[in-house]
């Protein structure tokens, strides 16, 4: 009897363990189910590389190159801002800061990670957007630049905490060896510790980028949402995520527009899948060594 009970419980726990695989599969299947219908009428290459996104014209033109470029531009901007600052901050916390300051900084970064994206978007709207407008003397502050700055702040907690972990897990003996050979603390950091943690730092950067590409609300609130091919950082852009969030409410279920938004979802899902698997490989590589 007891054996039987154990057996039932074990199987039940196994099923719960399998749910995460089930949900990933379900997400993919349902995105495909709703999204693939689009390609009965639209050529996939035209969908990805066409230049016009006019979902409400007749017939609708559903080509997402401007949205892809919008996402890429904002992501590029956010990466350029967040990677140097995030990496520097991680090094400072892991190697230089005294214990007390270290605790405060870590709490501050956890705080930043916890702020809901809609609140960051709101703060961006009321502070950053007017600044950008006056500093660059442009007609609107709702630009790719504003979006990049806010997104950088959303990527940095991810980058800092994972990179700090990677730096911290470099064996102490490496650093001691470098110091014993007469290197200064700084030399031991950039010649020994940072190279030893490089795959972890790379994973941190990738996960930060993943966070930026998937971010929705803040981007929708401050990038201006113009679905045109962007030429500079001082222009309004529209990202893949913002398009889904802004237009799904108006799309008729089963219409071409609706399917196209799900197809964008497929693109985002595949992108995040690739980024996460690659980042995980880098993290795993570090564990093996």
């Amino acid at each position: 009897m007891r054996k039987f009970k154990e057996f039932i419980i074990e199987k039940f726990i196994l099923i719960c363990g399998l749910t995460s695989i089930l949900f990933v599969a379900l997400i993919f299947v349902f995105l495909l189910k709703e999204g693939l219908a689009l390609f009965n009428t639209t050529n996939p290459l035209a969908f990805l590389f066409g230049k016009s996104w006019y979902p409400v014209s007749e017939p609708p033109q559903l080509e997402i190159l401007p949205l892809i470029l919008g996402s890429l531009l904002v992501t590029l901007g956010a990466t350029v801002i967040s990677v140097p600052i995030g990496a520097a901050c991680a090094i400072y916390i892991a190697e230089i800061a005294p214990v007390k300051i270290k605790e405060i900084l870590k709490a501050g970064i956890e705080l930043l990670a916890a702020i809901p994206s809609v609140v960051l978007g709101f703060i961006g709207m009321v502070t950053l957007v007017p600044w950008v407008k006056t500093i660059f003397a442009i007609p609107t502050g709702l630009t790719a630049l504003s979006g990049s700055i806010i997104l950088a702040f959303m990527a940095m907690p991810t980058i800092v905490s994972i990179a700090e972990d990677a730096l911290y897990s470099v064996p102490k003996s490496y650093k001691e060896g470098a110091l014993a050979l007469g290197a200064t603390h700084w030399q031991s950091i950039y010649r020994v510790i940072v190279p030893a943690a490089s795959s972890g730092i790379l994973a941190a950067v990738m996960l930060g980028i993943g966070r930026v590409i998937g971010e929705t609300m803040a981007v929708m609130m401050i990038t201006g949402n113009a679905a045109v091919i962007p030429h500079s950082f001082l222009q309004p852009v529209r990202t893949l995520t913002a398009t889904i969030a802004a237009e799904m409410g108006e799309a008729v279920v089963g219409s071409e527009h609706y399917c196209a938004l799900f197809a964008i979802g497929i693109v985002l899902f595949v992108l995040s899948f690739i980024i996460n698997v690659t980042a995980d490989l880098f993290l795993h590589k570090r564990n093996v060594q």
Binding site: E10, S20, V24, A114, I115, V118, M217, T241, G265
Partner: protein
Amino acid sequence: MKRTYLSQKIAFSFLFLATLLLIIPVGLIVVIIVEKGITAITWQFLTDIPRQGMRAGGIFPAIVGTVYLVVGAIIFALPIGLLAAVYLSEYARDNLLSRMIRLAIVNLAGVPSVVYGLFGLALFVIYFRLGTSILSGSLTLGIMILPIIITTSREALESVPYSFREVSRSLGASKWQTIRHMVLPNALPGILTGTILGLGRAAGETAPILFTVAAFYLPQLPKSLFDQAMALPYHLYVISTQVPNVDEKIRYGTALVLLTLVLCMNLVAIIIRYRFRKKKSW
């Protein structure tokens, strides 16, 4: 020799500056919201329904909606997440299956929040015909916070020393008895931390509830699981971008309530973790 120390000094000051560049804006954000929002917080603001097209009145339905959604999400996600963590830490061997589960969790954590919204729309709202309802929204949010709960619970379970299990098994307890009476109680604070972090995340997310539950304007409280509801983050989005001429005070007030809710949960989680670490004697 002097030059190497000089370069160290310069490098360290740059690192310090970069850290300030990150930390000071965080402080500023919180200070600005608290300073401008605190004047809006009155008893009436917290307990009244929105009036005059959301340009006056309070945010009570949004607060209630968020509480319902978060509670629903956790009721769904905690049992599944906890048992999944038990599987990974106690039962799984290091084989292809457990590696696939780990990879699935990593991916689930990385799926963009708006894609969860699409998924919730396609599966719960349309396929299961639950409609835009609290139930659909809770389930969507529940799946979204599942990876957080699994990861933190698993860490908590794995931090219970192996010897505890050996002693329990050697006294004749079965594997499940060992887990129930030995491992779970000792991992409880860690599990609690993860649960609260999940709650905070669910309370702050907007994109997953956009198409699954959120009502633009609904001046009454939801009566059942199948009703639409307002929610704080979506309400903040609506009054700051969709409705013109809303008093700044109301926007800041809403932002402050949302921020306080989320940060309090995180604070509680941090405190539990801190006290647990201090108390832990192994």
